[in-house]
Structure formats: C-alpha cells, structure tokens
C-alpha cells in the first residue's frame, strides 16, 4: 500500500514538472512584456530598439551589444533571425522590428506590400544624417530615390564604398601554358579554343580526361552572376534590366540572351561545361565552384569580386587556391611576419614571372558580339536598405535616433572600428600608435568568427562599416594596401554590365518567379539541350510576357522614363 502511494506521488511530481515546463515557456514572454511596460516609469530609462540585421551575435549581452548600448545610450534588442526567410516567419507572427536591414529591393517591395514599413522623406534623411546624405549625393544624385515605391520613400539606401566593380573572370595560367597558349584569351572565339584544349588536351598532365573548362553555380545565391562573363560578352545579363532603343527590357527576353544561350549550349554539347553545373553551388565552405577551379576540375571561373581573388590566403577563391597548392602554402609560411612580402602579389592580367606557379590570371575583357560594350556583371552602388517598422511612423523620435546612430557609424572612425571588435581581438595599434594593423593569424583564434557572431562585432550592429571609402582600410597595413591600392584599381577599370532598373517593381513582388526561377529554369534546360532553343524560344518569351512580364516591363519603363526626364 505504501509503495503504490509513493509511486503515485512520483508520477504526480513528474507530471507537474512537465506542466510547469510547458507553461514556463509560454509565460516567459508575458513576463518581459510587463516589465517593459513599466508601472514605475523612470526618467532615465533608455530607449529600446528592436534591431534586425543578418548574422546576429550568437548570444545576448555580447561585447558588441554592450559597446553599442554604451556608445549610443540605448537598449538594443537583437532579433534572432539569421536571414530574410527566418525574419518572414517572425513577421507572420506580427513581430515587427524597429529597424530592418534588407539586402534586396525585392525584399523592400515585399515588406512594403505587406504594409509593415514606415515611410520617410528625403529631407528627414538630410536633416538627421547630414554627412552621410552629402557623401551619397556627391556620388549619385538620385541615390535616395531607389527605395521609393508609388511615390513614397520606404527606407534609407545604404551606399557601398568601392562599388559597381566588375565581378570578373580568372583563368589558370598553368593550364594555358600546358596547352601551348602564350596569350590570354580575350574574345569568345579565343576562349572557345582555349576551353576545348582545357577539356581535351589533358592540361593537368595526369593522363586522364578529367577536366572541364568552366561551370557556374545554379543556386539562388549566385543569382545574377550566373555565367555572367559569357552573357556579359553579349552586353546583357539575363536577370537584369537593360536599355534597348531607349526602353527598359528584361535581359532574359533579349535576342542577345538567346544567342548567348546557343553558344553555351554548343559548349555544353562539346563537353566544355562541367555537366554538374546544374547542382553546383556558387559559394560554400565546401565543394563550390571556387573549389573546383582551385583543385583543377575547371580552368576558368567568374562571378567573384576583387577581394575574393586577392592573393592574401583569406579571400574566397584565393584561400581555396592556396589550400590546394603547396608552393603557395610555402610562400605564405616562409614570409610570415613580413607583411610587405606576404601581401606583395597582385592580380595579374597577363603571364608574369613575378608570380609563383601555379597562379591564375585576370582576364580584363571578354569581347563578344557586343564589342566594346562587352563587360562583366557588376552590382550597384547600393549595399542594402535600412527600413523602419510601421510603428515608427508614429514614433519619429526613435526613427531619428536610429538615423543618428547610423550617421555616426558611417562618419566616425572610432565607431566604425567596432566592426572589427575591440583592440587586441583581430587588430592592434602599431608601435607609434599611428595606424591600426591586423594581428597575425587572427582567424585562428578560438573566438574568431568571420561574421562577428561570436562577440557581436561584424555587420549586424555595425552595419555601415563599408559605406565610407575613408574607412575601408581602417585596419591598415600591407594587406589593405594590396586590396585597395593595387587590386581595386585593376578591377575598377574593367567594363561592366549593370541593372538598369534599381527600384522595386510591384509585378515582381507579386510574382517573384518571373525575374528569377522561371528564366533560370529555361536557361538551365537550354544549356543542357533539354529543349531546342530555336523552336522553343518564341513560345517561352511569349509565356513570360503573358504570365506577368508585360505588366513588369510596363512598370520598369514607367520608372525608367521618370529618371530620364529628370
């Protein structure tokens, strides 16, 4: 009898623990809500800002969060969403952050369509962010009109210093030599000749036919960079707007796109393109297209930025290149401590005896049917959009406070440097305290995280770090000189193909497949030869127009003609 009673009590206890656990999870939120309502309002209570940006710190009360709160005298509550997908799930539940850093204009359009964004005027930006405003206006007179929808402005366009730079292509110098080429290819015809040799003349000399000329990543992240150097030789990008006869036309529906697809298809049929391009990924820490290039599976890669190719053993393409080539590992190991030598190699545009074998060469232009208008894809001067939650429509004080914070983040070097963490984390002062410099092997530190999520530095809280050209090499030294004094000017000279429409179009918000998934599906099938381009092209374009493309093009031209009349 006693035993059964005991059992009952144990069971009861277990059940109550479960219940308490269930409810504690639900009630926690209510608890914090009550406290923030505050029955005893103190005068000094700091303003609370609910902040969303990519790559939030892993934990609350990180170094970065504390530094931020102290500097700006606010209480910041970071939204736990890693990306726009996670944010949209939160939004569906009705939680709207005070400030949202969005990366694409499509996102701004979607959020505006949902009615969750506060509007603001250009004058308000001018008043609350005077230096930032001046800086942007100097570079682009229309800069603050790009976040306008239906005549109202829904955010602050975030400028990117050193932007609009070609995302160029590089080619393996060792393979060119092995196949007997002494000139870097610069036309599509020359490229085809080289590509054929890369595929069939055993450029890596292992006696096995296991090489391809090129591939591209068919994932969404790759977006407009998809085979962009080849499309660029035709003067268009299939996912960008282009101007023809003074009218905006979507790149995918142009004749140039059709011709480029025919060429890519013929290359595919000849076996030059790695058939795995359909499932290849553009940028991961594993087997992505940079890995395939660095490991001698392909001999040509495009769609990366100048700082991805930088010879510093840290840039995306370069780190993979060094990891797979012993000669370069030796170079970096033997020069450790000697910054000038360590970061002394530049991106070359021709064969160079200054380089260590094997190396890659930057192709400065691939000339195609577009002639001198051939160019590489380049993003715009916008690095994102700062948008405010609808609740700030009424709470102007908070909106201005956030603007003020961003103004300081883009103009004050002592604040900008927080993006790189506290002194001693990844940087330190040089001996005479005149210049900040990188700490050796900082990336091997235990609490290092490339996105700053470990301690709360990085772009989440310090969002404006790349807005001001003055601060790009705030952590100075040879590596920054290599990037901004040598590589950047080399890449800035290259011809580019850019998107002619910079605003959000309503039709694209309502049917996002129209500007990406639908064109990509056809492009992949056309390259693979799953569909015959000549016999399906007209019907495909007609279908695109019918499914919303007509409306989209109309909206694009309304905006475009508006900018022309100015």
């Amino acid at each position: 009898m006693k035993k059964t009673n005991e059992r009952k009590w144990v069971a009861l206890l277990l059940c109550s623990v479960l219940l308490v656990l269930t409810f504690s999870a639900c009630s926690k939120k209510n608890g914090t809500d009550n406290s923030s309502d505050g029955t005893t309002p103190s005068v000094e209570e700091p303003m609370t800002i609910v902040w969303y940006n990519q790559y939030p710190p892993y934990e609350d009360d990180s170094w970065g969060e504390k530094a931020f709160e102290e500097l700006f005298g606010v209480d910041v509550e970071i939204v736990r969403a890693e990306n726009a997908d996670e944010l949209s799930t939160l939004l569906a539940g009705g939680q709207i952050p005070d400030v949202m850093f969005l990366s694409t204009i499509e996102e701004v359009g979607t959020y505006q369509n949902l009615g969750i964004l506060a509007s603001l005027t250009e004058d308000e930006i001018k008043e609350n962010m005077p230096s930032y405003y001046e800086m942007c206006k100097e570079q682009d007179e229309n800069f603050f009109t790009y976040s306008m929808i239906d005549g109202k402005n829904y955010g602050i366009t975030k400028i990117k210093a050193a932007s609009g730079i070609a995302q160029a292509a590089v080619i393996r110098a060792d393979w060119l030599k092995a196949c007997g080429f002494d000139k870097v290819p610069s036309t599509l015809e020359e490229l085809e000749e080289v590509f054929t040799a890369f595929t069939y003349n055993d450029p890596d000399g292992n006696g096995i036919n296991d090489t391809y000329a090129l591939t591209s990543g068919s994932d969404k992240e790759n977006g407009k960079r998809y085979f962009s150097s080849i499309f660029g030789a035709y003067g268009i990008n299939p996912f960008c707007w282009t101007v023809q006869d003074n009218e905006a036309v979507f790149g995918f529906v142009t004749e140039e796109c059709k011709d480029a697809l025919k060429l890519l298809n013929s290359w595919y049929e000849k076996g030059l393109i790695d058939p795995e391009f359909v499932t290849d990924e553009s940028r991961t820490s594993g087997t992505d297209i940079a890995y395939k290039f660095a490991n001698g599976i392909t001999g040509f890669v495009d769609g990366f930025a100048y700082d991805d190719y930088q010879w510093d053993n840290d840039a995306h393409v370069n780190a993979k290149w060094v990891a797979s080539n012993e000669s370069w590992q030796n170079f970096f190991a033997s020069n450790e401590g000697n910054e000038e030598a360590l970061y002394g190699k530049k991106n070359v545009t021709d064969f160079s005896s200054d380089m260590i074998d094997p190396y890659y060469i930057l192709i400065d232009q691939i000339v195609g049917p577009a002639g001198e208008n051939s160019g590489y894809y380049a993003g715009s001067n916008i690095s994102g959009y700062v948008c405010f939650g609808l609740q700030l429509e009424e709470d102007r004080e908070k909106m201005y406070k956030i603007m003020n914070i961003l103004e300081q983040q883009s103009t004050n070097s002592d604040i900008v440097v927080n993006h790189y963490g506290p002194e001693g984390y990844i940087w330190e002062w040089n001996e005479d305290k005149t210049r900040r410099q990188w700490i050796d092997n900082y990336s091997e530190k235990e609490n290092y995280n490339a996105q700053g999520q470990a301690i709360g530095n990085g772009q989440c809280l310090w969002a404006m770090y790349n807005a001001n050209a003055d601060f790009l090499s705030i952590i100075g030294g040879a590596r920054m000189d290599q990037r901004y004094e040598i590589d950047l000017p080399t890449f800035s000279k290259l011809n580019t193909v850019t998107d002619a429409v910079k605003v959000s179009l309503k039709a694209a918000t309502e049917n996002p497949d129209l500007i990406y998934a639908y064109p990509l599906e056809y492009i992949v099938k056309a390259i693979r030869g799953d569909v015959d381009i000549d016999s399906t092209w007209d019907a495909t374009i007609e279908k695109w127009y019918k499914n919303g493309g007509t409306q989209l093009t109309k909206e694009a031209n309304e905006w475009y003609s508006g900018t022309q009349n100015k």
Binding site: K8, S88, T110, G115, T279, D513, R528, N547
Partner: protein, 317 residues
C-alpha cells in the same frame, strides 16, 4: 408497479455519468499522464486552426488575423488559374502515388524478411541500422546523394563506367530524378515503416504457425495464409494514413534535391507553397493552397476508410 419511463431514463443517465466519473477516477493517474499530450494538442494543433481563416482573407501582418479584410474565394480563384500550381499539383500526385506503390510496401517486405530471420543478434542489428537512416536529416542525405551520384566523381557512375557504360547525371535527368526520389525515400524510411509491421507480426499467435507446420505448410504458404491475412488490418490502417498525405509530398526531401533542370517533375505543392509563403510572404495565398491540400487529404481518408470498411476490415475512423 409501473416505472415512469422518464424517471428510468434519468436513472440511466445518472448512472452513465457516474460510470464515466468512476472510470475517470479509476484511471486518474493514466489521465494525468495523458494531460501534457492533450495540452500540447490544444496549444499547437487546435488553437492555431483559427489561422486557417487567412486563406479567405487578404492577410495583413499589421491588422492581424482578425483585422484583415475578407476576400472570399479570391485566393482559390488565383490558385486554379496559376500554371505553376497545376504543374505542382500534378507532380505531387505522381510522386506520392509512386511512393505509395513502392515505398510503403518496402516497409512491409522488410518486416516480413526480418520475421523470417532466426538469428536474433543479426535481426536486431539489421533492424537498428535500417531504422537509423530515418533519423538523418534530408540535408545530409541530399548532400551524400549529390556526391554519390555525381557524373564525374560519384561512385555510382564510376561503377557504370567500369562496366563499360556512359555516366548518367541522375539528379538532372527528369526520369532518373524521380527514380532516385523513390529509391532514397525507401532507403530513408523502410526501416521506420517496417516498425509497425514488425510489431503486428510479433502479435500473431505462434500456435497458428505450429498448427500449420503440423499440417505440412511450407514457409511460403505460411506467409501467404497466416502472416499476410493477419496483417491485413495493419496494412489497411497504414494505407489510409498514407493516402491522407497524398497531396503533401516530402518537402524536406524534394527541397534538398531539386534543381532547375528537373522543376517540371520535381516542383511539388509543398515546395511551391514554400517559395510563395516564406520567400515572397504571400501568406494568404499559400494558406489557401495548404487548406486545399488538407481538405483533399481529409476527403481521401474518409473515402478510403469507407471502402476498407465495406471490404470487411477495420478502419481508423
């Protein structure tokens, strides 16, 4: 003495009530154990049902579920005029039907095979290993498959080439893609699906087999005359439940495997809803698609249940 019928009814009612009360009290600890599960269902399965209403509204986050404007059947009209919906609908049914034909029986076959194994250690090991795959995330399985099926470096194609064949790009060819969707699903879920059948087989009385042996029945006739007939109830239950999910394919599997080359056969309703609902935040529209899926699923469950009952088997409802 005549009893007043009303009074008798009252007594019966009271006793019924008392009976329930008594039963509740008798099993009070059992009910207490059930309580957390009931609470979970109320919180996460029943309360959210009110959100279905956004399928008939133009959902606006700021206005909330109640405040958003009613739009009647507009979202459903939009669904049926969308070419991509039609494609996703067709693909979902096709993939689900294939899985129903090949994947569901795979669990049964595995269970039957295992029931014939005498060595307990071997049987346990096979059962554990085949079930283990169920706990792998599809993200991982898809990465493994992409590597294994690679036309350049994949082990499957290396074998094909070694045998003198041409490498096949399995994940980019429409017909092969479907084959691998089914095969990988079998690999992932056969062990798990077998579980319910193994339990049912172990419930069959050994006396039946002994009697059959005495009558001279071989393995095959025991299988077809004892095991399968005894399992028919379980098979029907599984069938009904699977048919209910006919319109919801395995999102995780397809999402991690599909690519632009195979969209024509691979884009299912779940991935379509994901792109619209999460990527483009068309909450109302995607809810409408989802509601449509669920209503069809429920109808299928009832229909099949009725058919099964007619055929003399026990249903689930």
């Amino acid at each position: 003495m005549k009893k007043d019928p009303n009074q008798m009814n009252l007594v019966q009612k009271k006793s019924k009530f008392q009976l329930i009360g008594k039963q509740l009290y008798h099993y009070r600890w059992m009910y207490l154990f059930l309580l957390p599960a009931v609470i979970w269902y109320i919180l996460f399965a029943y309360l959210p049902i009110y959100g279905i209403s956004i399928a008939f509204k133009d959902y606006n986050i700021v206005e909330g579920v109640w405040g958003s404007a009613w739009v009647g059947l507009d979202n459903f009209r939009k669904i049926f005029s969308d070419a991509n919906f039609a494609r996703a609908f067709k693909n979902t049914i096709f993939i689900s039907a294939l899985k129903l034909i090949f994947v569901t029986p795979s669990g049964l076959i595995l269970a039957l095979l295992l029931s014939e194994v005498k060595n307990k250690l071997f049987k346990g090991a096979v059962q554990s290993f085949s079930m283990l795959t169920h706990f792998f995330s599809w993200v991982i399985i898809a990465s493994i498959m992409t590597v294994m099926l690679s036309p350049n470096t994949g082990v499957v194609n290396q074998i094909i080439v070694m045998l003198g064949g041409e490498p096949i790009y399995f994940l980019a060819e429409e017909k092969w893609f479907i084959v691998w969707v089914v095969l990988s699903d079998i690999w992932e879920s056969a062990g798990w699906n077998a579980l319910i059948f193994i339990a049912a087989i172990s419930g069959i009385s050994p006396e039946l087999y002994e009697a059959a042996s005495i009558d001279g029945a071989g393995r095959w006739s025991k299988l077809f005359r004892i095991t399968i007939p005894c399992l028919s109830g379980t098979i029907c239950t599984v069938l009904i439940l699977k048919l209910g999910g006919l319109l919801s394919g395995n999102f995780n599997q397809i999402f991690n495997l599909y690519n632009s080359a195979v969209m024509d056969v691979a884009d299912i309703l779940d991935t379509y809803v994901y792109r619209l609902g999460i990527n483009s935040m068309q909450y109302s529209y995607s809810s409408a698609v989802n509601l449509f899926q669920n209503v069809i699923g429920l109808l299928l469950v009832f229909t099949v249940n009725k058919i099964v009952k007619r055929a003399g088997q026990e249903g689930v409802v």
